[in-house]
Assembly symmetry: C2
Homo-oligomer: 471 residues x 2
Amino acid sequence: VRAPPSNVAWRTVSDPGRRLPADALDELRAIVGDDHVLVDAERLVPMSTDWTGRFVGRAAAAVRPASTGEVAAVVGWARRRGAALMTQGGNTGLVGGATPLHGEVLVSTSRLNSVTVVDMASMQVTVGAGVTIEAVQQHAERAGLRYPIDFAARATATVGGSIATNAGGVNFVRFGGTREQLLGVEAVLGTGEVINDLRGLRKDNTGFHLASLLCGSEGTLAVVTGATLRLVPRPAAVLTALVGFDSAHSAIAAGHLWVARSTRIEALELMRADGVGLVCEQFALPTPLRAAAYLLVEVAGERDLDEELHELVECTDGVTGSAVAADESARRRLWRYREDHTLAINRLGPPLKFDITLPGAEMQPFVDSIASQVRGVDDEANTWIFGHLGDGNLHVNVHATTDAAGRIESLVFTEVSRRGGSISAEHGIGVAKRAFLHLRRSPAELAWMGRVRAAFDPDGVLNPHVLLPHE
Amino acid sequence: VRAPPSNVAWRTVSDPGRRLPADALDELRAIVGDDHVLVDAERLVPMSTDWTGRFVGRAAAAVRPASTGEVAAVVGWARRRGAALMTQGGNTGLVGGATPLHGEVLVSTSRLNSVTVVDMASMQVTVGAGVTIEAVQQHAERAGLRYPIDFAARATATVGGSIATNAGGVNFVRFGGTREQLLGVEAVLGTGEVINDLRGLRKDNTGFHLASLLCGSEGTLAVVTGATLRLVPRPAAVLTALVGFDSAHSAIAAGHLWVARSTRIEALELMRADGVGLVCEQFALPTPLRAAAYLLVEVAGERDLDEELHELVECTDGVTGSAVAADESARRRLWRYREDHTLAINRLGPPLKFDITLPGAEMQPFVDSIASQVRGVDDEANTWIFGHLGDGNLHVNVHATTDAAGRIESLVFTEVSRRGGSISAEHGIGVAKRAFLHLRRSPAELAWMGRVRAAFDPDGVLNPHVLLPHE
């Protein structure tokens, strides 16, 4: 593994130096209680820095409302005061979408943490926006069911954050993303109006679907305070396999073949030898079977999974070997090769992170060419490629010299756009990709989004600097 | 089977007598061509009457644009002329949402019928809005894949109409509705702006999701002209079983148990003895196993379906017998008992149609009580109950005397609302349920929907009388 370039600190650091006047703070204290208005630097600094360390801002204050009513009062306060709010869940976002670079007042969802009993007849659960993904998963499991959204930040990431970014994760290929699980929301619009629709009706065509619209809206339309989530049956059996290939070509071709053949694939992750090598080095894991590229594939169902997996692998070219996990601890060990990619890469220094989707047919040519194109801009750059092959979603991380960062961003985004892809598959736009949104969205699309934003938040109090370019 | 009351004609008949001035027609002819502006009564009458015969209007004219550009020009024409447009696909809607009761100009999607080659690597297909559901299904099958939306009107209903109503159908329990299949749209907004997003990227978080928002918007935001649709693998095997139960109670309890246990259930339809009896009588079908209630259940997957079905049925109380179909013709025969319900009921005269969703726990008490509650209002009424148990979605059809119709509608909708359900699961609101939308949607919800509608269609040219109550 090649060492990264030394000057990797292309951070956005911003301290707008905004402080709230004493009477404004008093008004907030009257809403949420004295203990839940945070103004000390030691409390605000971690909340003002993003997970990657790339974005560092400074919140004017942070409030921790305990109810939807308190959130509505805070939104009302912001409208009266002309203040900008920024909603924050687990602060695991990757695009600066919850980092107060403009001195926003943070609205933490940490106290919106109610969890109701699982509704077995409707297979769903209603939780507060501040509940973690892992807590939802565990709660569902105790009821004999399963919450099908899963990703590496599960222990910290919240339901509210997963709605804001329409989080996808590793089981997207089988169950879709957060939008497909979200049966209802409770939310405070930018107007201050409260919408309460936690009936959890999966089939309900009575006007425009708010839950779908809020998914992926990055906190710009409403503060989501609660959600009703779809649960699914737990499969009787899960089989996880790490399959090695002689090339990324073979792995990608195999992935396309498998998802067209099997209805039981629940995860299909692509890795390359360099990324797996880095993970092994950073976390002292044993090197798995040697290969140029890997697919981590998971099949789930009632029975005969080994037979199904065998049939899939048998009909596939370029396989160099495979390792199969049938129990949970072996399964977790295989998943570490994939899930620890992000941490291992970050240990070398904050990378430029690209989270892209490509049309199926463009996957191979892109993977073939992007690293050398990036080297053309910065010959010290290292490009890491891994991700959710089953959904056409690749994570491309680049370690590069600071002054090349802008050119590399332009290169990768332009290349993705030229191939008919998307500049953000699941992380969102936040502030990190706002300047590139025009590569994915036409003027007419940006126009309707702006009009809809104004329809929800006419005073621009909710995440005003996030997602859409400023007019 | 009891005969329906004689005076079943609670039709809404409207002939606003609107005719377009000659120069307005000439402008339309200049856009779409002389042959594609229809003004003769014989052409307009069938297009102005809904499938149930309940709604009869009179279009001022009908236009058949052949491209998105022509649709945009027609929308521009309507804005200049102050005319109201109404988009019409297969005219199989059930809520009067495509019936020109106010002398609208119909925009037929019949010529937007392009079909592209199936993209195997991305498992999707792009089609014009006027293509039928059946044509999409057959096109996908020829490529070895499957379009998972399916409902009885498949041969006539169009992709555009299925988007407008977010059509669900019989496989919703496994694959979701049209919203879950819609990867991208081409559409003309009410502003006349054209949005073209047919890249078909399944994972794409780059702003608000237009496809989700248009699904279920009943043509009030845009005229959808094309769509990119997700395809799924064809299962290696499908097993269909008709299972008889000693009561509706037992059938509902069994359904809830099965969907929580099996990941392979693709359809789960509830019927009662009266409905099955009517279908047998109307279509001279052999009576199936005798039972008080039935579940039509379909499991699909790679193998061992008979074993799985056997295990499900074995652990279930109240089963009186079952009939299993393993081949396609036997499968089609079993499905007729369910799919011919609508036709059989309509043969007795147009019923009041309710398409409702209930929370899981409310299903049994509702099914127990609603028929006798309806009889309390009209002692000649016949209530038919069947539907998609797996999704909590029941179709309730009522034959009643004309002057009781309004009271029965109020009763059923109020009862559904009181139980936390929805007044429309999959048919939409149209004009038929507009007056009852307040039972499902709060003033704040109706307000944001109105603001979003204005953001898309500021002049109110698209289906202005549909979905939302007038201000």
